[in-house]
């Protein structure tokens, strides 16, 4: 299991567009990827669950990855957050 924390810099937070892209990225991997904020967790492959977290700019999210391809998934997800959020 690997995890990282990320502070959202996108001023609109994780709304439909970035959530859609995030899910697309998360689906590339076999590993289970979860997104947590304030003790609430959702699967990173479920659009409405991710949007429903209402993650805003300045908030910290924790991304937890576990599975066979967790190294690649960790790098991919981290790069995604840095590039898009």
């Amino acid at each position: 299991m690997k995890k990282f924390e990320y502070v959202i810099k996108d001023e609109l937070g994780i709304h439909a567009r970035p959530a859609g892209l995030l899910i697309k990225e998360a689906k590339k991997y076999e590993s289970k990827i979860t997104l947590s904020k304030d003790g609430k967790s959702v699967e990173a492959t479920k659009l409405i669950a991710v949007m429903g977290m209402a993650i805003k700019c300045g908030q910290t999210v924790e991304v937890e990855i576990s599975g066979n391809d967790e190294d690649a998934a960790f790098d991919g997800m981290k790069a995604f957050f840095e590039a898009n959020l």
Binding site: L12, H15, A16, R17, A19, G20, L21, I23, K24, K46, L47, I48, A49, M51, G52, A54, K56
Partner: protein, 162 residues
């Protein structure tokens, strides 16, 4: 014979009706790539002729964002997850011009009022008011039919068949 009777509420959802009246267009014609390229899932869109959004079928509200207000999520009893997204890029309005009636986790019936939006205000702010319905787990429902190319009557015209 009671043996053949099934409670209506137990029947899986088979159809979605227009959640707002207006011209129904294919999702591929929505002027926003996040929808037209189906990144969020397959679906159908309506150019609204009115300002109240109603539930396209029975279900449970899975998302009702109290801040940005322009999107509603619903879970249907057949397992499908739908997203109703009102307007394009309307997240930037931070909820201005929208009023949400739907409450998260609440059960709703087809035709129940979910949200109201101020079409003129949103257009004046420079946004398209296209209302998009996305089946966010459409990969699991590959034989779903999305129906477009007609003027829809709210709560009557079928826009999607599972």
């Amino acid at each position: 014979m009671s043996f053949f009777k099934k409670k209506a509420s137990e029947e899986p959802v088979k159809e979605l009706t227009a959640f707002v009246p207006g011209e129904v267009i294919p999702i591929t014609e929505v002027k926003d790539q996040v929808f037209s390229t189906k990144v969020l899932g397959d679906g159908v869109a309506i150019q609204p002729a009115a300002q109240v959004i109603t539930a396209p079928c029975d279900g449970v509200i899975s998302m009702a964002d109290e801040d940005s207000k322009h999107a509603i999520g619903m879970t249907l009893n057949n397992g499908a997850e739908i997203l109703l997204h009102i307007g394009l890029d309307t997240v930037s309005l931070n909820g201005e011009g929208f009023r949400v009636f739907a409450k998260k986790n609440a059960k709703v019936k087809r035709g129940d009022k979910l949200l109201e939006f101020d079409k003129k205000f949103i257009e004046e702010k420079g946004f398209e008011t296209t209302c998009v319905l996305v089946v966010t787990n459409s990969d699991d429902y590959s034989d779903t039919e999305y129906i477009s190319g007609m003027k829809a009557v709210q709560n009557e015209t079928v826009i999607c068949r599972f």
